[in-house]
Symmetry: C2
Subunit: 199 residues, 2 copies
């Protein structure tokens, strides 16, 4: 089965609709998805951006939120803007990496739902512990694992790999052959490319 890497950042708005639909689209064309959490902050930092480009460039940010409202309406997803935006995604990303592969998608979707459907913070231990408990995962164990040097290293390594692959935004999709697609809009193209590589 061909595999597509789904690179996502918990602070990213367009990752929300992508995370909510990727498994359905991938299943329809028999492509496996690898969920790859990473942080965009360090990449933005090196571009001289101290916050989200949607905050730095006001007109762009304003229309992005409008566009996201339209997309969510079309997909039947609730949308509420979290305050502040962007949310600090460090702890959520560490937890996602610490989880077993088969637990990562549901946890990640739950973070996005809390953040962008409910507009609630996802940057603190209590919020993330609640999400874990709701999924019958021991919050204490996972929060401890997320704070371990091994997981901190893995997240840094994921960021370094993302940069090597040429990532500059999220969501991004990378095929086994290294073809990079950026943006929720490109999900189906990326899946088709992943399929074509396995022919």
């Amino acid at each position: 089965m061909p595999t597509l890497d789904f690179w996502y950042e918990f602070a990213s708005t367009y990752c929300y609709p992508a995370a909510m639909r990727i498994e359905k689209h991938a299943a329809a064309c028999k492509v496996a998805v690898r969920w790859r959490p990473f942080l965009l902050g360090p990449i933005f930092d090196r571009q001289g951006w101290t916050t989200s480009p949607f905050n730095l460039y006001r007109a762009k940010g304003q229309n992005m939120f409008r566009d996201l409202e339209r997309i969510c309406a079309k997909e039947g997803l609730p949308f509420r803007r979290p305050d502040p935006f962007p949310q600090n995604s460090l702890l959520a990303a560490r937890i996602a990496l610490a989880l077993d592969d088969d637990k990562r998608p549901a946890f990640s979707r739950a973070v996005y739902v809390r953040e962008f459907a409910e507009g609630l913070p996802v940057d603190d231990r209590d919020a993330l512990a609640k999400i874990l408990a709701d999924q019958a995962i021991d919050p204490g164990l996972m929060l401890a694992a997320a704070a371990s040097p091994a997981i901190k290293d893995r997240l840094r390594a994921a960021g370094a790999e993302a940069e090597r692959l040429g990532l500059y935004g999220a969501p991004s999709f990378v095929t086994s052959g290294g073809e990079l697609f950026w943006g929720n809009d490109r999900l189906d193209d990326a899946l088709a490319w992943a399929l074509s590589e396995s022919d």
Copy 2:
């Protein structure tokens, strides 16, 4: 018949596939298109960008050209990158504005074909005179009109209107009701919105 404003910038890569397909898509859903040339340079300037963001942000620029290749392959459009990129679009935009409304689309498409299908410069009088002559338009008359204070003012006014509408990139689509869509990807959504406003 509902109308959609198509805001385009001759230096913009994604305007090429948008310009080549917009009339077909608009005709299919019975929406009229108003071709609105403008310059992004002054808007970028005010954001502190001295050239295209695709030059400023290297990874983004690299993937944009790859993405454009994929889009053009899908649409059956030839693609060749002009050098230098971006091309100076001032004269082409002034000519496009000086033309009668019914001559503007074909001239604009011909500029994009020269620039992005053939990879040739579109910033000089000779190149643009050739395009005009090919369309049985008097190049001398049009180049004189393009240099008139009235046309220079109209282009500045278009830029001011674009900024008032919240434009920050191209192509952009704006409905009669003021709904703004950014990007070649959003063409069909913008047409559907324009239609829905006329219900």
